[in-house]
Subunit: 280 residues, 2 copies
């Protein structure tokens, strides 16, 4: 059993704390806001909580769970307080910029990304078994210590998450495809529909939209701050995916313009076969 | 109580027959395939069934429910058999080409589009109350007889469907936005992801794809024949929607290229506000 620090007591940090504490680890919470610290103790999510990074001096492992833009500054501020063998990991949804910044600062750092979430946010949304059977990606580099990788892998497995391991750049390209590109595509669908100049047609479209529109537009109608943040932090991979997507779309537009129905049908047959590969 | 003909005993035709027959109407089925006729009788969906259009000589109302490309040829072949006051309606998912072809041939024709469906097809998938609380659009023109409009409206209301009425062109533009555009956009998302040149990244993307990708890709992984057919029949409106969508997407790409995060955030805030308008 270990002393485990959690910085950022929101949905992810709080849910990590719940599962790890139930295993018998001692959970030390850190949140900027003292009300969140009090709430985390009241909800019995952590053993102790404080706004002070120095409270993690004895932590054997620290999970960095603040909003993605705060991970590197908080880690930098944390390092002077850490024991020399302390393992540090983060939960940011983009990995390369974070690993690039933190790997040189701390040999026992390993980047991580638990692919779990709900529509809710904050400590009140924290729940047990959020990570069960969900992907959890770790992104070690040549500089990552074996010790860090072993400790974090072991903890991830203890959450019953599906552990994947890859290079930070590969992670960022993969999430650009399956997570960040869909947000921009889905949002553009909503925007385009709202561009319809005829009030009658736009109102009718709104009246008769059903499950197809609902599903395709879902992630485009989600949290705007999260969407913007992920575009900022994964800009290069997202732009590559967007450009490729636009080219692909232009192919389909050309098929329809040229009434090449055989080509369109072939392409839709292929997507029908390919989609299940993403949903195994 | 009326004699009601249903041509095409698949999911839509069969489900219409089930609900209308339960109301006490006499249901006369027509299917090209005699096995389907036998099955419709065995399943107790219709009172009688035959491959012969002449069997509808006494029908007071006829629903045309074959695949969309067969609606106009079948209606043209049907007309010589009809009683002079017989009302004809169809269930095609595109309205202008059908209304343009049939309105001059039969004054008691009114175009219709029940917006209901399941992933299944065929007579075995037919079910009661498929249309309950679903949109059902009728597209009368100046040439449509009041008689036809009254009879079909009454039947649609009896299905507990939500009745909408509009010009055929407006219908086609609306379904291009909320039904046909999403299919091409969603399919392009799958194709683009499969274009990823690195096997490692593509495999990782497949492994970690979750609900966001699942929802956004759903309609793009659907029936390729349906997707191709709807593009063929609604080509003009779909191309207009696709072109507008591509322009909208290019705006977002430009925001991300130029790191104009305020503009991206504003746009995502707008889509978060707009999406619920389609899901009332």
């Amino acid at each position: 059993m270990m002393k485990i620090g959690i910085i950022g007591l929101g949905l992810i940090g709080g849910s990590l704390a719940i599962d790890l504490r139930r295993q018998g680890h001692q959970l030390l919470g850190v949140s900027r806001r003292s009300e969140t610290c009090e709430r985390a103790i009241a909800l019995n999510i952590v053993d102790q909580a404080s706004p002070d990074l120095a409270s993690l001096a004895e932590a054997e492992v620290v999970f960095l769970c603040p909003p993605i833009g705060a991970i590197v500054p908080i880690a930098t501020a944390l390092i002077p307080h850490l024991a020399p063998t302390a393992v540090v990991t983060d939960v940011g949804s983009v990995k390369q910029p974070i690993v690039d910044a933190l790997a040189p600062l701390w040999p026992h750092f390993v980047g991580g990304h638990p692919m779990a979430g709900t529509a809710e946010q904050g400590i009140e949304a924290a729940q047990a078994e959020l990570f069960t059977k969900q992907p959890y990606v770790l992104t070690p580099t040549d500089a990552t210590s074996l010790h860090a990788m072993e400790v974090v892998s072991q903890l991830v497995r203890s959450l019953h998450a599906n552990l994947y391991q890859c290079h930070p750049t590969d992670h960022d390209r993969a999430v650009a495809w399956i997570s960040h590109l869909p947000v921009i595509v889905s949002a553009s669908l909503i925007t385009a529909c709202m561009n319809e100049p005829s009030d009658t047609v736009r109102q009718l479209a709104q009246d008769i939209a059903s499950s197809g529109f609902r599903d395709t537009s879902r992630v485009g109608g989600g949290n705007p701050e999260l969407g913007t943040m992920m575009a900022q932090h994964n800009r290069t991979a997202l732009l590559a995916a967007l450009t490729d997507f636009r080219d692909t779309l232009s192919h389909s537009i050309r098929h329809i313009e040229q009434e090449d129905w055989a080509a369109l049908a072939l392409s839709l047959q292929q997507t029908q076969r390919d989609r299940p590969k993403f949903l195994a």
